[in-house]
Symmetry: D3
Subunit: 237 residues, 6 copies
């Protein structure tokens, strides 16, 4: 039995609340159980210098955590003067994931900056962030479409993410903090609405894992991401 009493392939309660920000062109408050991430998509007319003149746009992401999003208060990164390796790793992952499903030339020479700020953390913040960021990005693009700034299929597909792990010898879906702390293997999967894989990150926390175990995690992830994509579709409809 999982500590969370969930079935091995059971997601936490997931909600995607749109238009939660008065200012941002697109926004989404995503909740995976007690993990709450505020995602805002901001349209910016500037573009990274190395992209200028290529007729393509860019999507980038930043990730942060409020100091008391966690059980123990963590030092504020703005105060310690730098972003941790973990923060940078996660925001690079979110950015790559979103770019995988955006038609950058259709965006024009503009940048969309997606901020994913963890208001409350209980495991799986990066996967919640990617899942919610897609909704914020979608709404930002629709905002632009309504102003004739873009046309065509700028968003090529959905993108969503979920964690899986081996806990107590069993492959389980969507680990919360307690389960994650106690898991042997921790893996994050990012997949498109049509089932293509965009990112796989698997790490043995204790014992190395086998190919068979990894195949089980992948199967769980596929099913979970399918359900997240359905929730995204409902959210934007």
């Amino acid at each position: 039995m999982r500590p969370s009493k969930r079935a091995a392939d059971e997601l936490r309660a997931v909600t995607l609340e749109r238009s939660v920000s008065k200012h941002a062109e697109g926004s989404c408050l995503v909740k995976f159980g007690d993990t709450h991430v505020l995602c805002t998509a901001s349209l910016e007319e500037r573009i990274p210098p190395w992209l200028r003149g290529q007729g393509r746009g860019w999507v980038t992401a930043e990730y942060g955590m409020l100091p008391r999003a966690t059980g123990e208060r963590m030092r504020r990164e703005a105060s310690s003067g730098k972003q941790s390796g973990r923060t940078q790793e996660i925001q690079r992952l979110i950015g790559r994931s979103l770019r995988a499903i955006v038609d950058l030339p259709l965006l024009g020479e503009r940048q969309i900056s997606v901020d994913c700020d963890v208001i409350q953390a209980d495991g799986g913040t990066r996967t919640a962030a990617i899942t919610g960021a897609w909704v914020a990005l979608h709404d930002c693009i629709e905002w632009m479409r309504a102003r004739d700034m873009v046309a065509g299929k700028v968003l090529k597909d959905h993108i969503a993410a979920i964690s899986c792990g081996i806990h107590g010898g069993q492959a389980v879906l969507d680990l919360d903090y307690l389960e994650d702390s106690d898991a042997d293997t921790d893996a994050n999967f990012v997949m498109t609405g049509s089932g293509g894989i965009v990112e796989i990150q698997g790490t043995a926390e204790g014992e190395p894992f086998s190919e068979e175990q990894f195949a089980q995690l992948l199967a769980l992830a596929k099913s979970g991401i399918g359900r997240l994509v359905d929730l995204q579709k409902m959210a934007i409809s």
Copy 2:
């Protein structure tokens, strides 16, 4: 007529929602109209080095803004590598204000760190932060009291804050962003529940102001803070 259509002495809709964080010992989501600040109070068993061995506790505050809390996305301070002068000025103000009404020896050799993170900004973030921080601090102290960590009147009084300004020649209370951008004078007042003044900050944005004008601002502030303290009392009851 004010842009906000409010009467000169009319506060925005103010709400103080308690216990919004799963982890923090005390927390409050404060809203002054469209200005939303999440305040968490974290109990920490460590104390600043220069206070050790004096049998007194400490209360400190940090302030932050999500990058898209504002109309234009601002650069994330964690990414630029330092907190702006404005951020530091505000967090020093919040800390001083809270310490003014805490009996530090009764706290014991512990620190309460109050984080005030602006989720959405529309003027008056520092005054909303102080007003909400008091509720978070109150709940943190009650959390400690329930565990026999403190006894007695640790919180000596209420503390709340409000901005006033001279807009279109008229002294007005609780300016929103639009009013603030267009005001001649901007002042922030921090007062206790019993009417004592803890902080006054008045700045002429355009023309210098007169003693009479300042007296009007102070009178407005006094009345507004009285109402905020009433709301705090209702929130914790």
Copy 3:
């Protein structure tokens, strides 16, 4: 009786020595008793990026303290790698105060940078800095006028500053370090030559203060600033 033996409304010996720098366009060594601040005004042909093309100039200020300006040696900010919150707060105050009395369009698209470096500290460094900075700024503008770079009333008024506080239950003017350490309330006032208020900062160090007390402080400040403005007039004549 004040520790300094001064009457409640008595300034320390104040001197304003002009042209103390071989290089700066304007300079003033200001002394408020044992508080000595070197103020230099430097004309720069560049302007902050966000001001370009608006036909207006800018005045900015920086503040620093030599490491052994104080009783205990403090760490050099250049060595610790950042300016403290206090330093930033003060230099923002000085800059705002000076801009309040400069006709920025008459300055043309140029910046005057005023550096206020505390050579020796004994309380009231920010108020001495503002008072001396006005003289340095005045001389810089006269330097420009002599070269036909500006014309007209670029300096709209005098600006000067003084601290007041409640010490031993009594409102007193121009606190030195010893008095300041022991005061219940500490307030800084910045006013123009014509008596307009530009900045008010009042902080309760111990007990909150009342409106009546604040009114006494304001009255003391008004009288003190009047005398400082007279000294500025003598200095530049």
Copy 4:
């Protein structure tokens, strides 16, 4: 045909040269073709603060690149003042990989710091680094064993890493820079000598990839890592 003319499952020429440093307790210069990484293992009697008193040791890793290791000179991280997100991501990966095969309690309360410095880069620097770091770590532990500082099976297994990718529609092993720049999918695998998986990182650079493609990459990696482990065995024998 691959640009490198290698067969799809063909490694570059790999060499592992031991004892290349006069000072380090263990060292290895690893070459994967034109990718050259100097790995040194340094024994340190100190331990991270959060590990103290637990009777366990620690293995950590740092990664760097000489500025002209690459085709275009890159800015020196020591001069830009921080390590890039990519650098931090890689050194966290190397550290995790090494810790997966070290019996930390057998190490005692000591830390081994492994530095992996890229002297010349041509793709696959992180996988070369992990493969060479194992040899340096091995020799450091033997150095300790010879001095009776450790006993028993401190190194539980081999660890090695390889990249795979989909290039021109074909799954290929050990991509060089040219192949990597042009690949649709890029994956890094870290596995033990006994075939357990420790890390999997797969990223779609262009189109998302399928489960079948990922299975092919994993099979290639398994075979390649087997050969790398054989080379490690020869190197230390």
Copy 5:
């Protein structure tokens, strides 16, 4: 003829004014013509960690320049967030020079921090700093002696410094800024009162220099430093 009209072996007007700081244990305002450096010596009961328990003291130095000490305003190092290479080079030189003539065991486990802040610059700031720092250091040690903190010959000798250069083909002493900008070779010498050499730094700015030229510079320096030591003796008598 030198631009300064001085004879080749003629020093600028040198003054050493003691006890210029209310707070510092020793202080000296040194002027070499228009180069003015404020030197303060601060006694600190702490010692660098690597010196603890060895029964020896330490002397260290820091160097800074006010932003408008120079003809063009320079960026404040506290604001740019780091000390330049030049600043660090100079403060290391001052520290080494002073330590050369201090009996560190006689100092006990204490540190004297000497701050050399350039109030106004006109060439030769590092040599003026060393020459004035000796006086501040002397007075700090006498302050300690008066309190029975030290005994014996803590200061083993005088130390002073001067610059020389080849200007217009001629070896000249004590270059001012104008001469320095136009010199072919720039050299700084640090020597003791008894004529021992402590530091030599010679740099060809344009053409390399010959052994003969260097010998001339050394001879000039020797004579100049002799006169500086005489001035130090007069200053402390």
Copy 6:
């Protein structure tokens, strides 16, 4: 007898290996005994801002040390966030030395960046770096010449460097780490192929040194640098 058993005027085994980098326009691995420095010269089409439009090029240098180049592992400068004063001092010295023998106008508006990275340290890293950097710079310029980017005598002369010191009362050449740690005086000399002096840095580590001693060091350096220049000539022929 020197610890290294070498004669007083005997260099360590010196080798200069060219073309050790696949990417750099010029490169040299220089060894002075166990001191190994990798020097790469990188051609860059950009130039420092303050040089633009003057028709001249620039040569700059950066210096680094691998963390375990030394007996004790040192903290990585990229990780500590800044270059030490020592690093900056050395890289400024290398840059000045190289510029002394380059005809900058002949280079055109381009920069050559020379990176000197210490792979293994055993004393004398800066002098080895300068000696090897000349070879890398030479090859970079020949690379440019072969592409008709430069013509004429861009390199005006050779430049090489050596350390000398007073060890056990005797003047000795080319100190290794052991000798350097135990020397009374440490001096570095940079000279051209035609015997001109470009840099002299002499420091008394213990007792001040005399003019006579310094003359002995200079004579040793002259002879040593002559032999280094011969080795450079052989290396490029």
